[in-house]
């Protein structure tokens, strides 16, 4: 009799606790992936490191050899050295990541080829294709760029807002199955990488959703074929009516801004010797 009373009491306590606890629900994992994963290529720094577009035996020198072999005036290598060069080590991160990321999304992946007696390895063909997209036409998606290296507190530093990163992943990668680009550094350095997949899991307590999202980016690798990649995991909370809050390590390690390339332009920043016609003739691709 006493045992039965104890069991009944324990049951009542447990049910009461369950009812009194805040509502909590786990959302199922969600996965998104684009139809085409942007190809890996190199980011071609401006600071001389032996792996530059203007390096001897590099993409521009071979392109010049092709120009000469086809009776066209050369000068791509010297133009590149004059216009896309820095000797300031503080700017060691300056390069062509934005151009590679654009080319990786919009252009088919080039492969090594020999044209008119000039052997272009995979870095060379990806280098000249990347150069075509130095000034891509683009649409700004969200976030304010941070240019002050000491800025760790401004609204620009705190964005891209979690709500918008979350939405863009779902909208582009999951719904459209189309990649976009994010600068992964919250601070003043700019490192643009194509986004092509994510995994998202969350729990909801009350009206706050606690989210853990892993995002996959194509990586800028040397001698790469296909898609090499890396991932970053972001944590944040979302609440209706707000732009969300970064949490944990993501407070200081989150994307700065997002954009999407829509094409290429022939602006003054693009090497004028690198033409679509020649790149197509060399790669055999419609770029």
């Amino acid at each position: 009799m006493r045992t039965r009373r104890l069991i009944m009491l324990a049951t009542i306590v447990l049910v009461s606790l369950a009812l009194a606890a805040p509502s909590s629900a786990s959302a199922a994992d969600e996965y998104g992936s684009t139809n085409k994963w942007p190809w890996s290529g190199y980011w071609w720094p401006m600071l001389e490191n032996g792996y530059n577009l203007y390096s001897n035996n590099g993409p521009m020198q071979k392109y010049d050899q092709y120009l000469t072999a086809t009776g066209q005036p050369a000068g791509a290598q010297s133009w590149e050295k004059t216009n896309h060069y820095t000797n300031d080590k503080a700017n060691s991160w300056w390069g062509h990541c934005h151009a590679w990321a654009s080319a990786a999304i919009l252009a088919p992946e080039p492969t090594a080829v020999t044209r008119n007696g000039v052997s272009f390895n995979v870095n060379d063909v990806k280098g000249i294709t990347t150069s075509l997209y130095y000034e891509p036409t683009y649409k700004w998606l969200s976030g304010n760029r941070v240019d002050d290296a000491n800025d760790k507190t401004s609204a620009a530093y705190k964005d891209i807002s979690p709500a918008w990163m979350d939405y863009l992943l779902r909208y582009y990668v999951r719904y459209y199955k189309y990649p976009f680009i994010m600068d992964v550094n919250a601070d003043s350095q700019v490192w643009n990488y194509p986004v092509f997949a994510y995994q998202r899991s969350s729990t909801t307590t009350g009206n706050v959703e606690t989210v853990n999202t892993t995002v996959w980016f194509s990586s800028p690798d040397w001698n790469a074929t296909g898609t090499k990649y890396f991932s970053k995991t972001y944590t944040y909370s979302l609440q209706a009516g707000t732009l969300g809050t970064w949490t944990g390590a993501s407070v200081s390690d989150h994307p700065d801004f997002a954009w999407i390339p829509t094409g290429k332009s022939a602006g003054a920043g693009t090497n004028p010797l690198i033409t679509e016609k020649n790149v197509e003739a060399i790669t055999g691709l419609d770029v």
Partner: protein, 222 residues
Amino acid sequence: MHSSRTRIIAGIAIFAVALGATLLVASNRGGAASKDSSPAAKGAGQRDGGTPIAPLSIGGWDVKIGDTWAVNVTQDAGGITPDGASKLVKIPYRFEVTGVPGPESDIVSMHVAQDGAEGPFANGWNLQYQVKGATLVLSTVAMGEDKALEAELAAIVLGQDFPYEVAYTKRPAPTTTYAQDKLIARSALPPQQALPKGDGSNGAVPPSGAPSVPPSDLPSQM
């Protein structure tokens, strides 16, 4: 029992009644001259029988299907390059009126194509403007033939700020920078203050409604 002659007469009579009813319904059908915002809708601004619709007049511009103009937009690649050095280039956006209001519509449809656009952007954008007095107010934007989004959302998820509220005082010049400030400025539609609405209430396909890919389609964890 009917004779075959009676059946033929009855068949002809039924056919005639059906044909008449169809024509009656067709002649009474109103609505926008062209709600189809695709370029293929060009020339749809006529009612049955080829009667042209009176042009919509906004300010001094008689808006007609097929009206075209280009807006040269200055873009600064310095926004995305690591060195941030300003690099300005003019990019033409080519507008074409593809639909004008009919008796039951106040929508002007336009197609916009960007010079040099590639991939899915090569199909341009389809815009719908609502006529409000002497102004056109952007209501929806669709990328190519995709589902249209409300303008506020499109300004962010499509990254495109088209002229939002424009009081045309004359027909746009063939090439102009008339609306450039509205194309590149975000003052009319502040994206940073806007909130995403994933429930579809603003025209977006709810992202959560899109199917997940199987986990095996993801890259392996690193």
